[in-house]
């Protein structure tokens, strides 16, 4: 289990890395095939993805809709710019909450790393303000409340699911 990292780079970038115990082809497919995407890209616990449109070709559309089953929901739209199977995806996306957020330009790379994959997702925000807003949770300054909460929430659950799957 490798921890996700999420950090800033320069003024406009947010870089997320994560290792997976599967080859790049599998990780790439899990990012481009709706049947696979809707099994994991669900956000917080309890949410589902009733609409998953992913036209994995340059110019192809992306539309994901999430629902919390209680009438709450939001959606994301986007377009693919470049795809290099099984190593690189470039797309633009925005959330609708319901007003659209500024466009987030995303490059996702999948590199073989031993028997697994190192995924590097670089998000480019349109301006430093937008990024500051995204990052205002204060992670650069060590206010790691959501971090700590996340760990306390996720880890027992992971330990539980690992036990269950054994």
């Amino acid at each position: 289990m490798s921890k996700m990292t999420l950090k800033t780079e320069g003024d406009l970038y947010v870089v997320v890395t994560r290792r997976f115990a599967a080859p790049p082809e599998a990780v790439y497919r899990a990012h481009t095939e709706p049947k696979l995407i809707e099994r994991w890209m669900l956000g917080p616990e309890g949410w589902t993805m009733p609409v998953c449109i992913n036209e994995a070709r340059p110019g192809g559309r992306i539309r994901y809709e999430w629902s919390n089953g209680k009438g709450g929901g939001f959606y994301l739209t986007g377009e693919f710019l470049e795809l290099e199977p099984y190593s690189r995806i470039v797309h633009v996306e925005r959330m609708h909450l319901p007003d659209p957020t500024p466009d987030n330009h995303v490059e996702t790379r999948f590199e073989a790393d031993g028997t697994g994959t190192l995924m590097t997702m670089r998000m480019t925000l349109p301006d430093v303000e937008t990024r500051s807003q995204m990052l205002a949770t204060g992670m650069e300054h060590g206010m790691e409340a959501s971090y700590v909460r996340l760990e306390s929430v996720v880890e027992p659950e992971l330990a539980g699911s690992q036990r269950r799957s054994q």
Partner: protein, 116 residues
């Protein structure tokens, strides 16, 4: 609940984020905040005003001093919105681990994979 736009704007400044990080350790007066930041007292006071209007901090009167502390409601509102990205991603990738393990199993053991 404070207006999120005002709150995000207030947070789009490194000194104000640093002030919040300091206040996360506990209440502080303006003078106590001036010390570590190498910023003038009027400048700190202006930053505090912005944070107060944004609902991120609250101040109380104690004689002539007005100590500041984090506002729970303000920070929770922001935290909720901003935590979404990190938390959603981390959870998504944990789920993706499971999906990848299943893909792998189906490839290694196609029959078992299909009768699962």
């Amino acid at each position: 609940m404070p207006d999120l736009d005002t709150a995000f704007n207030a947070l789009a400044d490194p000194t104000r984020r640093a002030i919040l990080a300091r206040l996360a350790l506990g209440e502080a007066t303006v003078m106590e905040l001036v010390e570590p930041f190498e910023v003038t007292q009027p400048a700190i006071s202006r930053h505090l005003k912005v944070l107060e209007v944004a609902g991120l901090i609250v101040r109380r009167a104690e004689g002539t001093k007005r100590p500041c502390r984090l506002s729970k409601a303000g920070l929770e509102a922001i935290d909720q919105w901003l935590g979404m990205l990190r938390e959603a991603l981390a959870r998504n990738y944990d789920r993706l681990d499971a999906v990848l393990a299943q893909i792998n199993q189906e490839q290694m053991n196609p029959e078992k994979g299909e009768t699962r």
